[in-house]
């Protein structure tokens, strides 16, 4: 459970940063990047509290 949550959180962070780099490289539209960033946000906030330590 914890390991799965960590993997999902990492994916959430990747969705936050990688699409922006693809916009910069001209491979992705800004709109798609914004949608993917929102998806990454949901993924991070749903999974990070499961494993994040105090």
């Amino acid at each position: 459970m914890r390991a799965a949550a960590i993997v999902a959180s990492a994916l959430g962070l990747l969705l936050t940063i990688v699409p922006a780099c693809l916009v910069f490289a001209g491979c992705l539209t800004w709109q798609t990047h914004a949608h993917l960033m929102t998806a990454g946000m949901f993924l991070w906030f749903l999974t990070a509290p499961v494993w994040f330590r105090d």
Binding site: I17, A20, V23, F24, H33, A34, M37, F45, P49, D54
Partner: protein, 460 residues
């Protein structure tokens, strides 16, 4: 309120912080690196970057000033704050009480709490610019001082109400949530800035420096704004957290460090936090064609995630700030429950947040905040390192049972008074202020202690 009551209230307030930290509670370097990196990506970073752009700083001045100022700030944490923290292992407030006496500590707490209220107000204002986006709220502009619309006031009160209620109900849970948010917020800053670079005409990494000079940090101030130079950026980066390093506020954190050099962990806050966040928010400001309001510029870079990031950044940093302000105010309201004090502090904070000047003049406020709190840190430093070397006694308030150490009180008030009267810009005033506070405290302490010795007819 009698001196005895003041002492009792302060003792109750810091009941868990009167003892030096035990050996088994000391923390590793990585904990401090994480703490500093998270703490310095706050809601206010969204406004500081754009304000530098609005003041017409050039790209070389911005980057060189930021590097120099951040290095100086890290050195102050490592060489001023951390060594005293690891030797005493006490909180700043407890050390201040030993040096200055409980009554002066009390006054300092109140002044600090008022500053925290204003800072929390600025963070509520930052959040409000994002919450108002879906309602089509007119955004405050750079020169606005008073509330600009009824919708702005309504949104600020809405955000303020949520922040206050949550600060009353569950500070610790929110503080933890703030830590959860940190890595994500940091990446949103970076991602949003990278995504808008093509809008500014930056097609490759090699293009960045040209675009930075021509489109972002152009050297031309916005209408009505003063011109900033390398020195403004360097001194702001150095002194924006002066209350925590030279002001010694971070003794409360660094007392958990195993070694004094853990103070260098602050570099993670200055370079991964301030450097990146201010650079990215400056880029976002330029992409928004000079827009300053954090909500719209973050939305322009990262869409919904950007707007949510602004709300969360403001909210998670306003909450502990407001909580600490309520805690400090509780000293003067002995019969009030903590929730009532936090509510009262929250109302003051929310009313303050209605004034956009609080957000738009944040650079000035941060400089004033540092100037007011810095002298007490210098007093602690001088008391610890210099007085014993001059044959003078340190921690006289604790040793002699004084309510007020007048040498510290005079040094504090006179330093602030002299610095305010100086005809230089607010960003530079803390620099001579450090020397003034040092000379005044050592000089007056020597005078008082030698006079006391002469009266007693003995050696110090």
């Amino acid at each position: 309120m009698s001196a005895g009551t003041v002492t009792e209230r302060l003792d109750a307030l810091y009941e868990f912080d009167r003892e030096p930290v035990r050996e088994d509670r000391l923390q590793h370097f990585s904990n401090f690196a994480g703490l500093y990196a998270g703490e310095h990506v706050a809601g206010t970073e969204f406004i500081i970057g754009p304000l530098f752009v609005s003041h017409g700083v050039t790209a070389p001045d911005f980057f060189l000033g930021l590097i120099a100022g951040n290095i100086l700030a890290v050195l102050c944490w490592a060489l001023c704050c951390a060594p005293v923290a690891v030797r005493t292992r006490l909180t700043f407030y407890w050390q201040l009480r030993r040096v200055c006496g409980p009554a002066l500590n009390f006054v300092y707490c109140i002044v600090n709490a008022l500053m925290w209220c204003i800072l929390a107000g600025a963070m509520i204002g930052v959040s409000a610019t994002a919450v108002g986006l879906p309602f089509g709220m007119p955004m405050p502009q750079l020169t606005d001082f008073y509330p600009t619309s009824a919708s702005w006031v309504a949104v600020v009160f809405g955000v303020g109400a949520v922040v206050v209620v949550l600060a009353i109900l569950g500070f610790e849970r929110i503080a933890w949530f703030g830590k959860v948010c940190s890595p994500w917020m940091c990446l949103v800053f970076i991602g949003a800035a990278i995504a808008v670079l093509p809008k500014l005409g930056c097609a490759s990494p090699g293009d960045f420096w040209r675009v930075a000079n021509e489109k972002i940090w152009t050297g031309v101030p916005f209408g009505g704004q003063s011109k900033f130079t390398f020195w403004h950026v360097m001194f702001f980066a150095w002194f924006c957290n002066i209350a925590w390093h030279i002001g010694m506020g971070d003794m409360s954190v660094l007392r958990y460090a195993r070694k004094w050099w853990y103070g260098f962990a602050s570099a993670f806050g200055m370079f991964f936090g301030h450097f990146i966040a201010w650079t990215c928010s400056g880029v976002l400001c330029a992409a928004a064609q000079g827009g300053i309001a954090p909500g719209p510029i973050a939305y322009g870079g990262a869409g919904i995630a950007g707007a949510v990031c602004v709300v969360i950044a403001g909210w998670t940093t306003a909450n502990p700030t407001l909580y600490r302000a309520g805690l400090a105010f509780q000293v003067v309201t002995p019969n009030w429950a903590r929730w009532k004090v936090t509510l009262a502090a929250g109302v003051v904070t929310t009313i303050a947040a209605c004034f956009p000047a609080l957000v738009m003049k944040l650079l000035d406020f941060v400089a004033v905040y540092g100037l007011i709190l810095m002298p007490m840190g210098v007093v602690i430093l001088a008391d610890y390192w210099i007085l014993p070397r001059l044959g003078l006694r340190s921690e006289v308030a604790a040793r002699d049972g004084l309510t007020v150490n007048w040498a510290a009180a005079i040094a504090w008030l006179a330093t602030v008074g002299i610095c305010v009267a100086m005809g230089i810009e607010i960003f530079f005033k803390s620099f001579p202020g450090i020397l003034i506070a040092l000379v005044l405290y050592v000089g007056i302490s020597a005078l008082f202690q030698r006079r006391a010795v002469a009266r007693a007819g003995g050696a110090p």
